[in-house]
Symmetry: C2
Subunit: 398 residues, 2 copies
């Protein structure tokens, strides 16, 4: 690939990022109650005032990370918006919970009343991301301590006792390991340890090592498949749940593992990340007829039971772009740049909205926009995933 | 429409029903553990051994109703299969639950261990349907009493105190009335009161009247829209939730209301059922470009946030067929027969599988099969909904 083409990609991504940040600054800030609107239509109109906690946390993180690491975003209005979002989160996201005093809501009303709570760890994870990154730009030690305390709670739920999450114990329950959990924890470990040292960091490093081992258990069938859920002994589970593949998650795990392998000088892990976690999902998940990455697949070729299995979502494409670019920048293998280029062309021609800025999130298998909002219950700043990776790549190379 | 065309429809439905019943008899019976497999591929192969409780209950109900009301299904093997399914349900569906001893699981392992439980009323509703209908064909009074006891529990959850369902109380909670709840209860009232009299029946009739009032609250905006969720005062709710329309549910409510109106000689209710609950969802929900009924719509034209909003599902089409045929058979208005015919042509040409029997359940907006299994977590005998209506029409006219 020519240097010119790479330069063009870089320019386009830069322009796209500016448009995305503009979009959220312009439409999402709630100047009356604080925090961010998350349900935003294609042209910026708020179609629901609910505030989804994942996206509050992600937006705080994104603003802080942009502010802290990229000069053109080092502007007071970005910092102020991040602080406002952080204050809203701190004040409202945590809810009274008999089992675990640190449980976070999934969804809040505009004025911060809890409306829904999930029996998973993810709202809390985005809370940690937001608080730690905000503490880094503001120097607020209380906030950093709060992130650490929440992290302890998360590790307790995942490794010791999940009962505080509120799921009832049932007779048919067998412990299931979902790849999303160690992936997300590993991401937090990388957040909490970055450029720090000391006892706390050593504790997190141990957690990080555990997460990597857990993620590697999802490489199954003699290294030919990455399965989303496995047993606690690292074996394949029966039925649909055991056969489920999520190419976007596998690619995301791929770049988390590569990053960890690079930080720890683990060359074998680096190779596994690239050859398995980045290659297998492309071979199985890329839609040869219509282009783009499918959302879910069954490893034995049965039809998944998720109604949206054949749709093309923005985020797996972001994960793929980050993964292939990161892998190429370390290995310089041209095949990885080709993968990047193939995903790039599909992504930027299908998800980007030239008219109103930001990205669409949901396409049919054939590539037609089928949900046209820019923000919804699970979609915030489109490029926060992309940026998370690119900003990290950027950090690494500056 | 010609009598010949109606005769042809009738013949085709009869053939289709035979093929469907054959399919489930052939592939779904678990002779080892009892009960029915519910995850069945396009050609009859079991792709997951989990047993979904809604579908266990529906299949028991369907077999019994066919056995009891249609001569060609009055066969010992159908009764035996129903009894086996009923025994499995009785033994395994109910799970220990601190708040409510009668809570049912949503999903069981092959050998009956509880795997998932929903914080809603629907597993319990299908349990009542199954037990009551099975009691009718077997004469088992204990079973009938069990259905009645579960019904009391359901009415308590819905009208007195929902806390036994296990949802945590949150600060932003405002009571939301979902149309599915009174619809389902009204269906149970009709099941439990059919051809019976006495004190128990009077009690249910009061519940039925309450359900009708509740359902009518979903007719909003001066009688121009049917909204899936309203406030407990019967007012429109803010945001996406308040604007959500589910044409299949509105049509289903339509024939429940019509049936109730006919049973009670309430002509105004009959007209509302037809002119509002059957007409509005067609005008808003029929896809003029591709044909078929859309799954979800936003009354103000925003994009729904459900990823599957534009898909075509088998069950709203079944509800539409039942509704229009029932409405036509009582009013003799030709326009209703035209509606029936239009839905019929789309339904039988898109969902029916000539090769392996049974129906596909899930199409893209363009009408292409996108999930090709015959049974899944929410889809059992395709025509159980259709049959429920047709069998009831049949009962009424025999």
């Amino acid at each position: 690939m020519s240097v010119e083409k790479l330069q063009r990609y870089r320019e386009q991504m830069r322009t796209e990022l500016d448009k995305v940040v503009d979009f959220w600054q312009k439409y999402s800030h709630d100047t009356q109650y604080g925090g961010f609107f998350t349900c935003i239509g294609k042209d910026g109109k708020i179609y629901d005032e609910l505030k989804y906690v994942w996206l509050q946390g992600r937006q705080v993180w994104m603003y802080c990370r942009l502010y802290r690491t990229m000069e053109r975003f080092n502007k007071p209005e970005i910092l102020e918006a991040a602080k406002s979002g952080g204050a809203f989160l701190r004040r409202f996201a945590r809810i009274p919970n008999s089992g675990s005093p640190w449980k976070c809501a999934f969804c809040l009303t505009r004025d911060g009343k809890a409306l829904k709570v999930q029996r998973t760890i993810f709202s809390e994870c985005f809370y940690v991301m937001a608080m730690d990154e905000l503490a880094r730009v503001t120097g607020d030690k209380d906030m950093q301590a709060e992130a650490a305390q929440m992290m302890d709670q998360l590790v307790h739920w995942v490794r010791v006792d999940p009962s505080g999450l509120g799921k009832p114990q049932l007779s048919g329950d067998t412990p299931v390991c979902s790849m999303a959990v160690p992936m997300m924890l590993l991401c937090l470990v990388q957040q909490l340890t970055e450029a720090r040292s000391g006892e706390e960091v050593d504790k997190y490093r141990e957690v990080g090592g555990w997460c990597v081992k857990q993620i590697l258990q999802h490489l199954q069938r003699g290294g030919t498949a990455i399965l989303e859920s496995v047993s606690s002994e690292g074996k394949e589970l029966p039925g649909c749940e055991g056969r489920l593949q999520n190419p976007g998650h596998a690619l995301e795990a791929g770049w988390f593992l590569l990053q960890y392998g690079l930080e720890n000088g683990d060359q074998e892990l680096q190779r596994t990340a690239v050859d398995k976690f980045m290659e297998i999902p492309f071979l199985t998940g890329w839609d040869k007829e219509h282009g783009g990455l499918l959302y879910f697949l069954d490893v034995d070729g049965y039809c998944p039971t998720q109604l949206e299995w054949s749709m093309k979502l923005w985020w797996p494409h972001c994960e793929a772009l980050i993964a292939y670019l990161m892998a190429y920048s370390h290995t310089k293998e041209p095949a990885l740049l080709d993968r990047f280029s193939q995903v790039y062309d599909y992504t930027f021609s299908h998800f980007s909205d030239a008219e109103n800025g930001e990205w669409f999130g949901y396409l049919t298998q054939q590539g037609k926009v089928t949900l046209d909002f820019k923000g919804g219950p699970f979609k915030g700043e489109n490029v926060n995933r992309l940026e998370k990776g690119l900003v990290r790549n950027h950090d690494r190379h500056k």
